[in-house]
């Protein structure tokens, strides 16, 4: 385990060595090198030498793709945006997330506000209701997905729809997950952790690709 000082340094870096990547991913350096060589972890070699280097964005994506918690790279609270037209539900979300230091929550009641906050707040996760007063959730989702800047933003639909066809349509619009209302809070948190690549509070995810 790297000492906290070292870890703090890593947070600042934009390019990583295979050893640093191995530390962040909590896997062996050999695994990182294999992934680099097979092209699954894109990077470059230092000109004039054979040293492998991995850009920060590439490493982030690799970690997310393989379900490796990224909190080592992105310390501090995760930005979460909850969008729902029901003020009481937004309050519920605020209550749930305010008790957990890992999150910073903002809320929006309309599709328009959701768009504005996505620009300014740059949430890492959006919890999106389907029925909104102005534009429906799937449209909001498509707009966010249409912007390359937010391609790493996770979107979780939380809605009352029950028909599988409708659920499939929401996922096809770019949703990363779906949760039916009313929801079990534990289920919600597990889904949020999964999407944000956080270590679950109960058990650690270790399904690393070999």
């Amino acid at each position: 385990m790297p000492d906290p000082q070292n870890k703090q340094d890593l947070v600042q870096k934009t390019v990583f060595t295979t050893g640093e990547a191995a530390t962040l991913c909590k896997v062996s350096q050999q695994t990182i090198i294999r992934c680099f060589d097979s092209g699954r972890l894109p990077g470059f070699r230092v000109p004039g030498s054979r040293f492998r280097r991995i850009p920060r964005e590439s490493l982030m994506r690799f970690m997310r793709q393989n379900g490796i918690p990224t909190d080592a790279l992105e310390p501090g609270a995760k930005r979460v945006l909850a969008v729902d037209d029901d003020a009481q539900i937004l309050e519920l979300f605020e209550d749930i997330f305010s008790r957990d230091e890992r999150f910073e929550l903002k809320t929006a009641a309309t599709g328009y506000d959701a768009g504005m906050l996505t620009e300014s707040f740059r949430p890492q996760l959006i919890i999106l209701d389907y029925m909104l007063p102005d534009v429906n959730g799937n449209v909001v989702c498509e707009r966010i997905r249409g912007n390359d800047e937010f391609r790493d933003t996770r979107i979780l639909f939380v809605s009352g729809v029950v028909n599988q066809t409708e659920i499939d349509a929401l996922l096809a619009a770019g949703g990363d997950g779906f949760l039916k209302k009313p929801f079990n809070i534990s289920t919600l948190m597990a889904e949020v952790e999964r999407l944000l690549g956080l270590e679950t509070q109960n058990s650690r995810s270790t399904n690393i690709v070999g």
Binding site: I89, L92, G160, V162, F183, I185
Partner: protein, 774 residues
């Protein structure tokens, strides 16, 4: 001012145009010679004018001789003394010469103006009638002229100039000649019709041509600028005197009318009139002529006519010849009249027979009888109206349907009926003969002959179509009678045929209507059934719509209740508080599940088909139900070996079956549930029976309604069987509930195995043995 009498007869547009055409043709006829025109202009006995006229006439030798011939009058004893035109003018006065010139001119003009009369002659030949007889016409004209002249002379009180009367008499019927010249064919028809009907000519002219000879004559007179007196004579002669307005020329009109009456009664020439000759005495009285004068003028009439005819070059004949001719004409007319009368009496007999037959037919006809009965009645009617013989009736209710053939004995009793599938169209151009009496020889229809086994002599049998329009029902009479005049009149035959055809057609329509009525009743019954089903489906749809609308409204509050209670449960330090909060959360979840169930009931998911073992699906369902009811060893499953696999959505089918099984388990505290599965062809049958109290009457009616329950109040109700039925119907299956004879409830589920045929080819794959449900 010349007065006109407006015709009051309304003319339609076509006829109006035709009349205009005729009138314009009249206007296109040649005009009078310059001599006649000049003569007509002279009004006084001016010496210089007379000299000029005399010179003009004498310059034309043939005209001169004719005029001198006309002016010779035996009765005046002047005949031989008049040798020059000037002499004639001096002896007889200008008006006499004027009349003579006009007569000659008009005669020559019209008689020489020959039209092509081939059409008219052909028509006359075909119909056995005579058209306008020109020689006879002129003879009649001269006769009327002479008679008018003599009557005028004999009645000085009328102050009618004999010369003027002569011209007027000569020209009175010019209109007929004109019409004959312009429309020879139509006029021949007019003459024939008048002769057949023995009626006045003018009416027929108006019917056939559009205008009568009075109008045509008047128009010609105007065209030729004849004196007004002549125009009026042409226009108004032969009309009842009382109906003629009080014109200055009324006396001369009366003279000509009376003269014509005299000539017609003496049959002098061809008058073109066929009505009964008028009463001469009456005519004379109306025209204020002494009837005795008729007797006075008659002896001189023939001689006068013969002379004038000779002068005009009509038929060189002496007066006795003319007399003889008129006697012969009278004989001919009598002969024709006799023929016509006997023909009429024959026709009358036919008509009476046909009428009797039609009446008898109608008396016997009842509207509600079947086609075959009506056909039999037609056959009997035919025997009485057309005589005994061979009859059959060929009938087709609609286009492209098979023909129905009814055969009859010689007594008109039904001897057989059959259907013949043959596409014979009697109205196609090649089969025209079948629609005109006596019909087409049956030899031409071999398909029909094959069915007429009892025909005595096929060569004499004919097929006559009885109704005349294609498209609707066709009725044909198969017969061996000579159905043509003189055996039966054409009109009588067509009346009979039409009566019979419409009786058969209406019987057919009646049968069709009855059939339709039965179909309608059947349709009504199934409609009533469908309406019940539809009402049920409709209530499901409404429920779904309501549930969808409610879901969003209910889900958000439920989310708050559920979320908040979970938060409370987490925060509660007291275990009782935690349990209370948790139960709120659970209740909210139950409600949410119910809403989901309702929405899926109304808007079910699509099936994801897979071929699975029936036994396995049932066993899984039994396991789910047992789990929910928290029981063990209460459900048994018997699968007959041939059940095999079925194509279904395994998850939804299990879901459906488990509700049914659960319902059975819960029917009684410790009942056993027996499930039997077997297969009948492509249908898998599942029977779920329990030993409970069975369904109540209310349950039998409402078991599939959402939220219906016969369980004690407070027990969970839910969507149970209604959801089952919905899911089974999604599989095109059916579910019915009943009570077993031996007690307990029994639910029967039938599932069509649509893809079974394919499965049979690929072989059974139900090797996956599964334990019976616990």
């Amino acid at each position: 001012m010349h007065r006109q009498i407006e015709s009051t007869e309304p003319l339609d547009a076509t006829r109006g145009r035709r009349v205009e055409l005729i009138l314009s043709q009249i206007d296109a006829l040649p005009t009078l010679s310059p001599i006649a025109t000049r003569l007509l202009e002279l009004s006084s006995d001016d010496e210089s004018d007379i000299k000029e006229i005399v010179a003009l006439i004498e310059s034309d030798p043939s005209l001169t001789s004719k005029i001198l011939g006309l002016c010779r009058r035996a009765d005046k004893g002047l005949g031989d003394r008049i040798t020059t035109v000037k002499h004639a003018v001096l002896m007889l006065g200008l008006s006499a010469v004027q009349a003579a010139v006009l007569s000659v001119d008009v005669f020559e003009l019209l008689d020489s103006h020959r039209f092509d009369n081939i059409d008219a002659e052909a028509y006359c030949e075909r119909t056995g009638t005579e058209g306008l007889d020109r020689v006879g016409f002129w003879k009649h004209a001269v006769a009327v002229a002479c008679a008018s002249e003599l009557l005028a002379e004999a009645s000085p009180a009328l102050e009618v100039s004999p010369e003027e009367a002569f011209v007027a008499g000569l020209l009175h019927d010019l209109g007929k000649l004109v019409l004959d010249m312009i429309l020879p064919r139509s006029y021949a028809r007019v003459a024939a019709m008048c002769e057949q009907r023995q009626c006045a000519t003018a009416d027929v002219e108006r019917t056939v041509i559009g205008i009568d000879h009075h109008t045509a004559g008047k128009r010609l007179a105007e065209h030729w600028s004849l004196p007004h007196v002549l125009q009026d004579v042409l226009w108004l002669h032969s009309q009842p005197m009382a109906g003629i307005p009080d014109l200055p020329h009324k006396p001369i009109i009366g003279v000509v009318t009376a003269a014509k009456g005299v000539c017609r009664s003496l049959l002098l020439g061809w008058s073109g009139e066929f009505g009964p000759p008028p009463d001469v005495v009456q005519l004379c009285l109306e025209s204020e002529i002494d009837p005795a004068m008729v007797e006075v003028i008659t002896p001189n009439l023939h001689e006068n006519i013969a002379r004038r005819c000779a002068a005009l070059g009509i038929d060189q004949q002496n007066d006795s010849g003319l007399l003889l001719q008129s006697v012969m004409a009278a004989n001919r007319k009598l002969g024709r009249m006799y023929e016509m009368l006997s023909a009429r009496s024959e026709a009358g007999k036919h008509q009476a027979r046909a009428l009797d037959a039609i009446c008898a037919f109608h008396r016997a006809w009842k509207p509600a009888r079947g086609i075959v009965d009506v056909c039999e009645q037609v056959a009997q009617s035919a025997i009485s109206a057309l005589g005994a013989g061979y009859y059959a009736i060929l009938f087709r209710p609609r286009d492209r349907e098979p023909w129905q053939l009814c055969r009859f004995s010689r007594e008109g009793l039904r001897s057989g009926a059959e259907l013949i599938d043959e596409a014979w169209d009697p109205f196609s151009s090649g089969n025209q003969r079948a629609t005109t009496p006596p019909g087409a020889p049956v030899d031409e229809l071999p398909w029909l002959v094959a069915h007429l086994r009892d025909v005595p002599e096929a060569s004499r049998v004919r097929v006559l179509v009885m109704n005349s329009a294609s498209g609707g029902p066709v009725v044909a009479l198969v017969h061996d009678r000579p159905l043509a005049p003189p055996h039966i009149g054409t009109r009588e035959l067509s009346a009979l045929l039409a009566t019979w055809a419409s009786a058969i057609t209406s019987a057919a329509q009646h049968e069709g209507a009855r059939r339709l009525g039965e179909q309608l009743a059947h349709t009504n019954r199934s409609l009533a059934q469908m309406q019940t089903q539809w009402a049920e489906a409709q209530s499901l749809v409404r429920l779904g719509e309501m549930a969808s609308g409610a879901a969003h409204e209910m889900n958000n509050p439920l989310t708050v209740i559920s979320g908040r209670s979970q938060m409370l449960a987490r925060a509660a330090e007291n275990p009782r508080d935690r349990a209370a909060a948790a139960s709120i959360a659970e209740a909210a979840q139950d409600l949410a599940n119910l809403i989901t169930g309702l929405r899926l009931l109304a808007d079910p998911p699509e099936l994801t088909l897979a071929r699975v073992s029936v036994e396995r699906v049932v066993a899984d369902a039994a396991a789910i139900a047992s789990g929910r009811a928290n029981v063990n060893d209460r459900v048994s499953l018997e699968c007959s070996p041939e059940v095999g696999t079925v194509s279904c959505d395994p998850e939804l089918l299990e879901n459906a079956l488990s509700e049914v099984i659960l319902n059975a388990i819960e029917s009684d505290a410790d009942t056993r549930v027996r499930i039997r599965a077997d297969r009948q062809g492509n249908t898998v049958r599942l029977i779920v029976a329990d030993g409970g109290p069975g369904f109540t009457q209310r349950a039998l009616r409402h078991a599939f309604d959402p939220f219906f329950s016969d369980k004690p109040a407070g027990r969970q109700t839910g969507l149970g069987l209604s959801r089952s039925r919905r899911l089974i119907e999604l599989h095109s299956g059916s579910i019915t509930i009943a009570n077993s004879p031996g007690g307990g409830a029994q639910v029967v589920i039938l599932l069509p195995d649509v893809a079974n045929a394919q499965a049979a080819l690929s072989g059974p794959d139900n090797g996956d043995e599964h334990a019976h449900a616990a």
